[in-house]
Amino acid sequence: MRPRTRRIAELAVEIAVPAVIIIALFAWTAGKPTFYFPPLSDVFERFANTWVFERFGSDAWPSLRRMGIGYALAVVIAIAAGTALGSSPLLRRATAPVVEFLRSIPPPALIPFAIVVIGIGDGMKVFIIAFVCLWPVLLNTIDGINGIDPTLKDTARVYGISGRDKLLRITLPAASPQIFAGMRLSLSLALILMVISEMVASTNGIGFFVLQSQRSFAIPEMWSGILLLGILGYLFNLVFMIIERHVLAWHRGARASSLG
């Protein structure tokens, strides 16, 4: 095949296969709807009725706000702490076991702790989200700062760059590809923890809605919530990739590692 024809054929496959999957799902669920797998058209209809825009303000918005605050807190704290730990080998060695232990705790196990200490309000959910998102960013910041090319550091010293200038112009930019990798990992964690924290103890939120729908056997509503979470996950990932590509445009690695 000529390259041009091949490119078009590949694009066609990329569009056709998902389309076929969706149509097949439509046909399959419409043909013999079961209680747990309602017709896809019903799910779409509930989705439109529920999320555009009746429950958006009461359930989706509180969820997104908690997730945003928790994630932002985690990123700020992690980059600050990571910079401190990354610049001091002694500090890093000393804190390593504590960091290793804290990040090994499966996050849901901390929810009971957060409920006891903070209560069941927004604070608890923000705390859980922030606590869990902290580690990937922290470890990546430390690694990124550790891995800075020694020549770069020496050059900075020769030119007498130090203090704030060094931090903002050399250390953080050089570590930013890794910091971004950590932030991307944390983003999906934030969404997951948002859902878990709402399922365990909440009176609103998408996770609460999905669990409540299941408990009242409102199956199409449940699926519409799951669909919303899928769309949210996909969109967050997409937006983050666009931002990353923009911010790290100077970094060749960002191009080399992005596939196809």
């Binding site: 496959v13 999957i21 000393a94 232990f101 804290l102 196990a109 006891v116 969404l191 859902v195 365990v200």
Partner: protein, 251 residues
């Protein structure tokens, strides 16, 4: 070696002091000594070990299913350009769905026992493995493939002798990530839907107001995660001792 131990000791002393002095109410957090002695207590208790066993059971079964499905599928999708292009969008859409969103579905279909836990753990840990395997296959050095081809190796043999070994480091990383994910989902399932295991015990201890036990179990869960992480890292190093990434300075 001294610095890390000292830091752990300092942290424990701080924990003890903060509670004893009253900066944090003892009704919220018991002193470190109480939680740790309760932990030792738990170690002598059969119920504790059976909870650990249940958690590990969910972890192992979920991770096992994910490996059995994710690696072969990843090899297939990664080695076919057409399959990759066709399935890229569905995978990108399904992958970020938080597996916890499926908890209600799992409860409806599999009930509240082990099956739900395994389903959730398997679903969540499947994606990192699939993606890592696909990337690994696509990252095979073209020179190696061409060399194998010019030596007359067939498709299957190329797969087995060139593609799989070059993808192994990626798969190993995938297994390490997936192992942590599987444990998280196992504990989540226990906590949210009440399947037997450490997560349920933690929740029971909390609702019973038994804080010493709750903190002891949280620490135990952390230790379990840490040990599993250690084990998978050690396994990775063993299998990949020939690979450049493992030859460097070990931390």
């Amino acid at each position: 070696m001294i610095a890390p131990l000292a830091a752990v000791a300092v942290l424990l002393v701080l924990w003890e002091l903060v509670v004893r002095v009253g900066i944090v109410a003892e009704s919220n957090i018991p002193p470190a000594s109480a939680a740790l002695s309760e932990l030792l207590n738990q170690f002598g208790d059969g119920a504790f070990w059976s909870a650990v066993g249940s958690t590990l059971e969910g972890w192992a079964a979920g991770l096992g299913i994910a490996i059995a499905l994710g690696v072969p599928l990843g090899l297939l999708i990664g080695s076919s350009r057409w399959a990759y292009r066709g399935l890229r969008v569905p995978i990108e859409f399904l992958r970020p769905i938080p597996s916890v969103a499926l908890i209600p579905l799992a409860v409806l279909i599999y009930g509240q026992g082990l099956q739900s836990k395994v389903f959730l753990a398997a679903f969540a840990s499947f994606w990192p493995l699939l993606i890592q395997t696909i990337y690994g296959v696509q990252d095979v050095d073209p020179v190696a493939t061409d060399t194998a081809r010019s030596f007359g190796l067939g498709r299957l043999e190329r797969m087995w002798r060139v593609t799989v070994p070059s993808a192994v480091p990626y798969i190993a990383t995938g297994i390490r990530i997936s192992s942590a994910v599987a444990l998280i989902l196992a504990v989540t399932a226990e906590l949210v839907i009440g399947a037997a295991g450490l997560g349920r015990e933690i929740n029971v201890a909390r609702s019973g107001g038994n804080l010493d036990v709750m903190y002891a179990l949280i620490v135990a869960t952390g230790l379990l995660g840490w040990l599993l992480n250690l084990a998978t890292s050690a396994g990775e190093r063993r299998v990949l001792h020939w690979h450049p990434s493992q030859r460097g300075v070990l931390t």
